[in-house]
């Protein structure tokens, strides 16, 4: 008969309360892992949504997402002539705020040239941008619906389509509009600055600045040869899609791993201490029963089993319950939470190890109990 289970059943209320507390704690740990994966997934979704083979950006930058990149507006025409480039499209990127009803949205506006690379890869509902002016494709996360209007700068834009999962590294929603509208918006928002540049005799006015050129490259031509051609312009550099993905994920990983890793470590430690204390008090509460077991001749393995199994039950139930809770609630989190099976298995393994370590305290206490203790009234 399983003594661990029988004792828990005898004091079910206390055990359930303990498990609930533990599951909330472990749920937070699971959430941290999920947010970390979510950020990575968001970062990848961002670069992949554009569907490029290579990115032309300002020399010595990792643009346009991880770092600012500003290149002249005519770059696209020059690049398009390079052997192997199937298609090229300019994009601009800027972050602006807009009021939508009572909410203030933080948006990243991507300006692209319809018909050229750089626009949304897939539209979930609605249609592409067809008219030249003041149309938007927004991410569902904004809460906008097709047909709605949104004021950006001095213009009113109409939402015509929705994408899913277009989110920036900081969790802002992405909206797409035409390059021309976006540049106009950029000029309006940063008007004084660009006017000053013009006054200084800058070659390109703000309206003629883009942030990157998106390339589709022929499968018959190596990306490297195209890149070499582009790099002959000293003010330009090229990132392949793979490089872009690495940059974004490592940017995210560097920041998120350190932050979330720290939190997860601390919380796991806290859980370990809590489990150890619970196991210890549970053992304290049954010293007499343990003495009785020793007296009637139960081997150590029975007694260790009692303690370790209870610790494991607590940890496993807490973890499963906590993870289920997060799984059920993950769509209500403000940031994307992605629960990877491998992460869950790893965390589960950690929880099991923590339980085993934590129960050693209780086991040592139990081993010291004298069987004669059961005899004292």
């Amino acid at each position: 008969m399983n003594l661990a289970f029988r004792e828990i059943r005898h004091k079910l209320g206390r055990f359930v309360l303990t498990c609930i507390g533990l599951s909330l704690l472990l749920g937070v740990v699971v959430t941290m892992a999920g947010i970390y994966r979510g950020q990575t997934a968001d970062a990848l979704a961002l670069v992949r949504s554009i569907g490029a083979d290579a990115w032309v950006v300002e020399a010595e930058t990792h643009g346009p997402f991880a770092e600012a990149s500003r290149i002249p507006g005519d770059t696209r025409e020059m690049i398009a002539r390079i052997n192997g480039v199937l298609a090229a499209g300019s994009i601009t990127i800027q972050t602006i705020q807009a009021d939508h009803g009572s909410r203030r949205l933080r948006l990243q506006v991507v300006g692209f040239e319809p018909g050229r690379p750089g626009g949304p890869a897939r539209i979930a509902t609605g249609r592409e941008i067809t008219r030249g002016h003041y149309e938007l494709i927004a991410d569902v996360q904004t809460g906008l619906t097709p047909g709605e209007t949104l004021r950006l700068g001095r213009r009113t834009f109409t939402v015509v389509g929705l994408t899913r999962g277009s989110v920036t590294l900081s969790g802002d929603s992405i909206v797409y509009t035409t390059l021309r509208d976006a540049q106009e918006l950029q000029f309006e928002v940063s008007a004084p600055a660009s006017r000053r540049e013009v006054a200084r005799g800058a070659q390109h006015t703000a309206t003629d600045i883009i942030n990157a050129v998106i390339l589709r490259i022929s499968p018959n031509v190596p990306v490297d040869s195209v890149a070499d051609d582009v790099r002959r312009w000293k003010h330009l550099s090229v990132l392949t899609q793979a490089e872009q993905e690495t940059i974004l994920t490592t940017t995210v990983i560097e920041r998120a791993r350190r932050q979330l890793g720290l939190f997860m470590g601390v919380l796991t430690l806290v859980s370990a201490v809590i489990i150890a204390l619970i196991v210890y008090t549970l053992t304290m509460d049954k010293l007499r029963e343990i003495a009785t077991l020793k007296l009637i001749g139960a081997p150590d393995r029975t007694i260790i089993g009692l303690i370790v199994q209870q610790a494991l039950m607590m940890g496993v139930i807490g973890f499963v319950f906590g993870a289920s809770l997060v799984f059920a609630a993950k769509d209500w989190f403000p940031r994307r939470v992605v629960l990877e099976p491998t992460d869950l298995v790893t965390l589960f393994g950690i929880v099991v190890i923590v339980c085993l370590l934590a129960s050693s305290l209780g086991v040592r206490l139990a081993m010291r109990v004298e069987p004669g203790r059961a005899l004292v009234g």
């Binding site: 059943r9 009637i296 004669g372 059961a374 005899l375 009234g377």
Partner: protein, 233 residues
């Protein structure tokens, strides 16, 4: 002190058993050169004032307390001779010794049946068989109707009888009881003592019980009196 029937086999044999706790000024001599032989089928009582060493002696026989010197045989096997001769004392207890405590000491999270059955399963017996035997024992001790009761729901006498059933679970040759009747009224105390006597005869066990209880003296085959750790007949 009447001598045991010559035919009977000695189950507990002590010679020159001493036990002291602590050293120097704090030294307490709990037992002093105790020698005794208890045979199968006997019910013996340990009497003496408080602090005279009764519990200590019982614990020595139970292999819970290590004597400071002396020699001890249980069921014909040399168990102690200046040191323990067996490493698995708990196994020895499990197989040969049953305990009845002053307070019943049942495991609060198991019902009456499983408190008894647990001791049997520890020797490797299957749970179903163990439970069936537990019911037989509970019936024998006239608490069969309480087989599914948790210890907290049992009266003192019922709990004590369940505890005795547990002590008998593995058919021990030696049953040790420390004031088994202290918590019972005289009627119940009589029932418990009758039961122990019957057990001793039916199962050819040796029963050693510590008691202060005058009302059960007449049910003991022999009485050992302890004073300051020394045995005087």
């Amino acid at each position: 002190m009447e001598s045991p029937p010559p035919s009977s086999q000695p189950l507990v044999e002590l010679s020159g058993i001493s036990k002291h706790f602590g050293e120097g000024a704090a030294r307490v001599d709990a037992l002093h050169g105790v020698a005794m032989t208890i045979s199968a089928g006997e019910v013996v009582g340990l009497l003496g004032p408080s602090g005279s060493g009764k519990s200590t002696l019982l614990n020595v026989i139970a292999c819970i307390v290590e004597p400071s010197e002396g020699r001890m045989l249980l069921d014909g096997e040399a168990v102690f001779d200046g040191r323990w001769l067996r490493r698995d004392l708990r196994r020895l207890r499990l197989e040969k010794i049953g305990f009845v405590f002053q307070t019943h000491n049942l495991l609060p999270f198991l019902d009456a049946t499983d408190n008894v059955a647990l001791a049997m399963t520890l020797t490797g017996e299957g749970l179903d068989a163990a439970r069936r035997r537990a019911w037989e024992l509970l019936d024998y001790l006239q608490v069969g109707h309480r087989r599914y009761a948790m210890p907290a729901q049992l009266s003192g006498g019922e709990a004590q009888r369940v505890a005795i059933a547990r002590a008998l679970a593995n058919r021990p040759r030696i049953i040790l009881a420390d004031e088994p009747t202290a918590a019972l009224d005289s009627v119940r105390a009589g029932i418990v003592m009758d039961l122990l006597s019957r057990l001793a005869r039916e199962q050819q066990a040796a029963i050693v019980t510590v008691t202060h209880d005058e009302k059960i003296m007449d049910r003991l085959d022999r009485i050992f009196r302890l004073r300051d750790g020394r045995l005087n007949a």
